[in-house]
Symmetry: D2
Subunit: 350 residues, 4 copies
């Protein structure tokens, strides 16, 4: 880190800062400029809270230099993207040459609804099925999901279609249960800094994790949160940009596709995009799916419902099966244009 002194800082104040740095087990290296002095800090300061130096007299501010995450960093030691495979076989892989698509309703509402969704996803050429059995709902009086019953319906849908399934965990106490059923554990945006949940998932399973960015998190914060999963033992982490909170009013969130490109540069973990939550508007989803693949995403997680007008949750941002079927071949063409590929069944690719 670099400690920037105020222009009027005294030599004694600089000395005091040097002592504080030495106390941390680090080495201060002062540089006297024309206008002010900065003190560079030599050593690994990642585990130190260097910002305390901002309270020392004469200090203007502290600039961080080292990246605060290690295991997820793309570096000379780890240049290649780490592919993460969902289910058996190669039908759904994130971070390889091909891009993959997870589609399905926000919630499992009934056996019929999720089976119908699975068939539609399969027919359109999607590579995995999503559906929530435990739902984190903004309003306490809203539908909260079917629980284990929903997991059973998801398993049945996998059985019938062969699609691996993705479903959310919202509490430490549910991990074992959900993990028994699912091919991929989703961590939602509201739990993105629920560190105890991250730690527990990291420790208890190696099942792939679809880890959504908190809608308030900087990329540094996001990658540090992912580090909880990695450091506690689960290396199969898929990152997911799902929109951030901004002043925009036409969309529920602002999908930041530059974040996808930046994450691809910073980390070896695969990165997907979720245009459904990223916009909150079904009408905008197909264009944002296309843009995500063009931006370099390793895949998509999107909401598709057989009957959005009657969905119990998130209908406003769910596309219908016909829209998905129209979209998939477009995505394949864009994947091709950016040097990637996409597996499509014969019928869907026409």
């Amino acid at each position: 880190m670099i400690v920037v002194m105020r222009a009027e800082a005294t030599p004694d104040q600089v000395d005091h800062v040097k002592n504080l740095i030495t106390d941390m087990g680090l080495t201060p290296h002062p540089i006297v400029g024309t206008d002010l002095t900065v003190v560079a800090v030599i050593g690994d300061d990642r585990k130190k809270d260097g910002s305390v130096l901002e309270t020392a007299a004469g200090v203007d501010r502290v600039l961080k230099v080292l990246k605060p995450y290690k295991m997820s960093a793309r570096s000379e030691h780890h240049m290649q993207t780490t592919p993460v495979r969902l289910g058996q076989g190669d039908g759904c892989v994130f971070g390889g040459t091909n891009v993959s698509v997870i589609a399905g309703p926000c919630s499992v509402e009934s056996r019929e609804q999720i089976l119908e969704s699975a068939r539609a996803a399969r027919a359109a050429g999607a590579h995995a099925l999503r559906g929530g059995a435990f739902k984190p709902r903004t309003n306490p009086y809203s539908f909260q999901g079917l629980g284990e019953e929903g997991l059973e319906y998801l398993a049945e849908a996998r059985e019938e279609t062969g699609l691996p399934i993705v479903t959310e965990v919202v509490a430490e106490t549910d991990i074992e249960l959900v993990d028994r059923y699912t091919d991929c554990i989703q961590i939602g945006t509201r739990n993105a800094q629920n560190f105890r949940l991250l730690e527990a998932i990291g420790k208890s399973t190696q099942t792939p994790v679809l880890f959504k960015r908190g809608m308030w998190m900087t990329l540094d914060e996001y990658l540090q949160a992912a580090e909880y999963l990695l450091a506690h033992g689960n290396p199969n982490v898929i990152l997911c940009e799902r929109g951030i909170r901004t002043f925009e009013k036409f969309s529920r969130n602002t999908l930041s596709l530059a974040a996808v490109a930046e994450l691809k540069d910073r980390t070896h973990l695969p990165v997907v995009s979720d245009p459904s939550h990223g916009t909150g508007v079904a009408r905008l989803v197909p264009a944002m799916c296309r843009a995500s693949i063009a931006a370099g995403a390793d895949g998509l997680a999107l909401e598709m419902h057989p009957d959005p007008e009657h969905a119990l949750t998130d209908g406003a941002q769910s596309i219908n099966p016909a829209a998905l079927s129209e979209l998939m071949p477009q995505l394949a063409r864009i994947a091709d244009a950016v040097g990637r590929g996409m597996l499509l069944p014969e019928a869907a690719s026409v």
Copy 2:
């Protein structure tokens, strides 16, 4: 809610929307304007996801009209602020005539540190002591708190000074343990939509809760989250504005004092302000404490550390005991200027 049709919507599309509304058990009431048609919806639509109507053909958007929270709402049935008392006696009450101040370090670092903090808080005239034993840390390699050992030190500090204590819970599995020690359970910003944690706290205890706003949450979302606590059985909820994420760079968050004033209008729950997290800069904390009381806050939660330069966590935003001692009488004068009061020991009020 109000469904706004597109200008070019056809009569059939309006009829379809009316049918969808009827299907929800609600009554549509179309109004034909000069430019377009809107369909007002009669009935309690709070538990319906009306936004699904946005996917119907011819619909422009859906406007919500009813407040999505009930138990926390200030209304003709509940006009008075609900006072919440910490510990025994009347030394620390939020939501009454007097304003109260919670002060203390971010983390319990050692027995000596928290005892020293408690004495300093007491001497300055603070009304409760804060200190974290379980810390949600952005970085997995940072100090994560002393756990139960920290709770014991807090209890000892209460014993010595008489100050009630406030400490954070970060996981469902810790609630019982923490509740055995503390006078007030803090829920941190990162868990503000950890609905399972909220539900569990609501169900298992009536100990007062200091519930911080998520740094990304609108007030509607915040009050719905508080509703989880209330609806599951804990009525002793203190709200806390602690800064939101914006483009500002000089501060870690943007403290929204208008949110304090607006919350005081919307809810009967007491509302406090946390200028330490709200700015992230110790130098700005005293001015924001003064402004918070002037804005109508029922009190403050702030970080004070006996030696900020050596704090293990959040030193950059912690004021020292001398600054707190200087601040408290100023706050008392401002409380007085806005028609409130503040209990101050003889010595502190000079």
Copy 3:
């Protein structure tokens, strides 16, 4: 508009609101719901400041229903995108089947620099040349542009390469001068609500305008600002998403590609994207160019400098000629994948 009354509003308060609406020359239509009353307003309220009703006793809030812009709206009367042509011929058109690319340095720095830029842009297959002669600079001591000398160099570059030129106007008093030289007048983000400048450009010329979105503006505000140009007489307006202010730190702005898709839905004006300002990071520009075309943009405005490391302005976000040459054929392939095309010279398209 819809006036939402508070739940506790009295019949007298509703009557008062009805009277205020009648005073505005509009017709009130009250609807009594189960929880509260709303008053729908019949008539064209676009020119009324309906928000004054929020100060009336018993009013909770006022919801706008009508779109506040007219001439730019895509509607049943104006479904087709309005193509805007730069220069003579069909080499550079925005809003037709083909997408077009404007490339060039932030500033005209010298005759050599802009000629070299123009040749590189031409060789790579770009369709227009940008370069600023009058620069709005954040810092008053920074390079402010070459003024008319810069315009002359731009004209010379056009002469040599045949590329139409795009350059910025920052003051009413420069319009005539700039208009004498340029094929397209750029209005920068900081002047996006400089209404007098917009009005003056609208009145004095029909030269195409590249009108950048203010980095703080909602789409409603942006389209109303465009309306100043249209209503005062210039129909040749190209909109441009260039990034908004958010909490993100890795990029200077957050490029909102959903805004491109939404604008394409709302307005018949062509919409382009500026990934250079939209990210501020040259490394991210190619991916965001690809994503923009995939999102449905009618073209791009990007910064390319022959020697970014020595650029006087905005070097950090400028790609070099080699990067542009690599990018253009990729864009052509993506344009093709989304049903558009892009004119590329034989050499560039390999």
Copy 4:
């Protein structure tokens, strides 16, 4: 500035960066850390666009160290706040011991309306009268102000009440006209980076300027914009926090009172707060006025209209004369509590 190299940067890349720095006339000072190398730059780099170094191979990012503004900086050479006086006498000074209040309607709507406003402001104890004659309106079809006629009414109001007047300039060509009438020129938020307007005002007059922060501007950008006024010759600049764009929905903007406190630390210019635009909600204005004074503001600019329900512009955020009369003595008490004062006529101070 400090150039942070990537961990994998080669010695050649570091050398190249050193050469680029030397080319700028500055001195590179490399520091080899345990994980990576940083290159500190010695010399005044304020006029250089150091960010170009981010395009050099091996560079991670460039951190600015020097403050980008000089004349407005509070420093050892200029510790005292510069008081700015409106009109003759000491009735309205910003930046001295006393705080002052500017009140009045958004727009001058008629002779009667502004005279009535002035009398109400005077009676309540306000120190200056505001009112717009040239209005920057979001919508081109809205009321745009009375122009010179409005200025004449303002002058008449001053004549009658003795209150100095504050009114906005929106175009370079109006400066001379407005300056002939007004005691203080307002520059609105939308023109905060209209550098040509700032430059022209700086050059042509020494009349005090009430310079509102752009709703998208960081404090560094804001102080650089103020520097345009100072550097071109007008030292009488009053800064004004008026709210920024954030995700909040209950208010039109988010008033950042920490920005007031931070500005007071960084600059010797007086700083006032505008809670009317800062919230957009009349109901919240009094609390935010109180909070602003408690936060250390040198005064207020607020909207008061004799009949908000019939205001032509900004009625929703205008308080009425009774509310102002109630507010002023409260502000005086808070000013007193923070060691300031406020001039109040006998009648108003009761």
